[in-house]
């Protein structure tokens, strides 16, 4: 690792160590968990927060951006339902300010086991959540999550179970002043099962709270999973997310990250193909304005033959927003006949916005089909004129074109109800930004 030895700690790094000393005794888990937490905070102490001289964090200098680390949130029992996606018919698990998850009773009868993180960590099974992470997920962000994780759920969808409705994990932050929420979830989709799982995040504007979330996910043989992540945290918040997903033989995974919240966000996902003939479909959207910084970093590891991955990632940037997309595909020596495609497109509504696209392919097999593309552009004046020449006013015409740009990714999710919900969120965002060059958000 290209980590330098430093003696000077930032306030945030110092705070992490001090907060851990104060909080460690009250955090859930077995003695093995406590040991893992101590090791993790030890690495944070040694490495500090990720900064721009670490290659993967070149565009997102968290050390510089996160000046202070707020103390862990005090769990809330406030009876507040999620706003986001509340119109979707779903099994809803609500977590408020890092508190105890509310788990719907009917899920067990569906063949789905759900336990809280605290319970999981107190038993032997918790080891998987602690140790079984790929090297690509390693960072001080994940280490902080390991050290402080206090809420979350572990969901096990039984073999062959066909879930009737999506499971929606709503992480709602209501803190009146800056605080940190550390959530860790586990999701296992059994062989031949079929499930849709949505994670949503939301919180108040103007408060510099931190959400640090991690998810360890596996999709079993012949299973299907649609995983949607809707990030609408407050406009001063930090959203840090690390996920690792294993895809077994003939499994099909659709992953749809939808990012429109937080002052700074990092959504880092490592996908590993653990079986042949598996398929990954990524349909991503990032809508940012003001001075928002959104970073989506995906790593796809084709270790075995006959896999397919499709990535389509759309970013719309207004004001001084900065959108980062890093996508790396590795095709290992034995992974013949792999079909890997990645397309990332940014639409700029403002001259002052910045898009950083970094697609990477590393191919060691000789019989594969792989490709990537990256485009950055403004609204096409010819299309805009055509719409206006038919009587559609400029703002409405721009909104139509922006929504059309986003729509391609929404369609790629392949779920009508979720598509409609996301289109609604996108429509509201676009209505506020179609004019372009608007006021900087605060």
């Amino acid at each position: 690792m290209n980590v330098e030895v430093r003696t000077v700690k930032t306030a945030a790094e110092q705070a992490a160590v001090e907060q851990f000393d104060a909080a460690a005794g009250g955090l859930p888990g077995s003695p093995a968990t406590a040991a893992a937490r101590r090791e993790a905070i030890g690495r944070v102490r040694a490495n500090g927060l990720p900064h721009r001289r670490i290659e993967d964090w070149k565009y997102t200098d968290l050390r510089a951006a996160l000046r202070d680390l707020p103390a862990p949130a005090v769990p809330s029992d406030a009876p507040i339902g999620p706003e986001s996606l509340s119109e979707l018919d779903a099994w809803r698990i609500v977590i408020i300010d890092g508190g105890t998850p509310s788990i719907p009773e009917g899920l067990a009868a569906q063949g789905v086991e759900v336990v809280s993180l605290a319970r999981e960590l107190s038993g032997d099974a918790g080891a998987e959540l602690l140790q079984d992470w790929p090297a690509e997920s390693a960072s001080s962000v994940l280490d902080l999550n390991t050290a402080f994780m206090s809420t979350g759920v572990v969901i096990r969808v039984g073999e062959g179970v066909q879930l009737d409705r999506p499971i929606h994990i709503a992480c709602v932050t209501t803190v009146p002043e800056a605080a940190s929420v550390y959530m860790r979830n586990g999701l296992e989709v059994g062989a031949g099962a079929s499930a849709t799982v949505i994670e949503s995040y939301e919180g108040p504007d103007g408060i510099g709270y931190v959400v640090n979330t991690a998810a360890r996910i596996s999709v079993g043989r012949d299973a299907m999973l649609t995983l949607v992540k809707v990030q609408r945290d407050g406009n001063a918040a930090f959203h840090l997310s690390t996920s690792a997903i294993d895809i077994a033989e003939r499994a099909r995974l659709t992953y749809a990250p939808f990012t429109t919240g937080a002052l700074l966000s990092r959504n880092q996902v490592a996908f590993a193909f653990g079986g042949v003939h598996a398929e990954l479909n990524v349909a991503g959207i990032q809508l940012l304005g003001g001075r928002q910084h959104g970073d989506t970093t995906l790593f796809v590891d084709h270790a075995l033959p006959d896999g397919a991955s499709r990535e389509l990632f759309k970013t719309v940037l207004d004001d001084r927003a900065r959108g980062v997309f890093q996508g790396k595909i590795i095709v290992r020596k034995d992974a013949q006949k792999v079909d890997g495609r990645m397309m990332t497109q940014a639409l700029m509504l403002s001259e002052r916005a910045e898009a950083d696209n970094k697609p990477e392919l590393e191919i060691y097999a000789d019989d594969v089909q792989c490709g990537h593309g990256a485009t950055t552009g403004r609204i096409d004046e010819n299309l805009l004129f055509y719409l206006r020449a038919r009587g559609i006013p400029e703002l409405m015409a721009k909104a139509l074109l922006i929504e059309a740009f986003i729509g391609e990714s929404i369609q790629a999710i392949g779920n009508e109800a979720i598509g409609e919900a996301l289109s609604g969120i996108a429509h509201d965002w676009v209505s506020g930004h179609a004019a372009g060059e608007g006021e900087d958000g605060s």
Binding site: N382, L383, A389, R390, G391, L401, A404
Partner: protein
């Protein structure tokens, strides 16, 4: 009779360039008239159509354009459309992600709203589109696709005429509507256009070739060269051009 469109001494250059494209163009179109504008490539025909529709790549340096007595140049493209100006594009653009029906409805209702008329209900709208689409051989499949995406050359032109039929403009500007059409497609498009001829709807048909004018018979034919109208006559002028070519006129200019 008040002219529908009056262009006087129009001078136009490409914005940010010095090259003048229209150089003192005069044209008067009365209600119900069909005018053909013919001319060689580079004479400024397409520029005239874009200037009428309000494309902002051009700068008007002199002259005026009055539409129903109002200064057209002061209006935004969408305001012109709502006022009754329609340009059938030579190269209709493809708009991925915008469904054709969504687009048609947005356009029609935006124009109705701008004119202070109520929006059409979805069933009413669907019925009108189906009726008009049938006449133009526009299939349900085309209506279900995104705007012009995957349409053949002929389908794109029929899509333009369908929009024209739906939006019911008072001034139709057809820019090289015959380009890229085989004879059968040309006939369908021409029939669609002819069906829209009324006593108070005028048309300006821009074309390089005379063959379109066998199907859409004009009242008046103009020859354009080097940015202005150099000769005006009846439909026999088009026949004359077909025989002798543009050479005699371009030299005269």
């Amino acid at each position: 009779m008040t002219a529908l469109l009056e262009i006087k001494n129009l001078h136009v250059k490409i914005a940010e360039e010095d090259k003048e494209i229209l150089r003192g163009l005069d044209l008067t179109v009365n209600p119900g008239e069909v005018h053909a504008i013919m001319g060689p490539n580079g004479s400024g025909k397409s520029t005239l159509s874009y200037v009428l529709a309000g494309k902002d790549d051009y700068e008007i340096t002199d002259g005026e354009i009055l539409f129903k007595g109002q200064d057209l140049t002061e209006m935004e493209p969408d305001e012109r459309a709502a006022a009754g100006v329609f340009l059938a594009f030579q190269y209709p653009v493809e708009i991925p992600g915008v469904a054709f029906m969504t687009f048609l409805k947005a356009a029609l209702n935006a124009q109705r709203k701008a004119r202070g008329e109520g929006e059409l209900s979805t069933p009413d709208f669907m019925r009108i589109v189906r009726d008009k689409a049938g006449l133009l051989n526009v299939s349900q499949d085309m209506l279900r696709r995104p705007v012009n995406v995957g349409f053949s050359g002929g389908e794109k032109k029929r899509s333009e005429i369908l929009q024209m039929a739906l939006l019911e403009p008072t001034l139709c500007v057809l820019d090289e509507t015959d380009s890229g059409l085989d004879i059968d497609a040309l006939r369908v498009v021409a029939e669609g256009v002819n069906a829209l001829r009324t006593a108070d709807r005028s048309m300006v048909v821009i074309t390089h070739y005379q063959r379109l004018l066998n199907h859409i018979v004009p009242d008046i034919v103009h020859v354009m060269s080097a940015g202005r109208i150099v000769k005006t006559g009846g439909k026999e002028l088009a026949m004359e051009l077909e025989e002798s070519g543009y050479a005699g006129f371009t030299e005269a200019a």
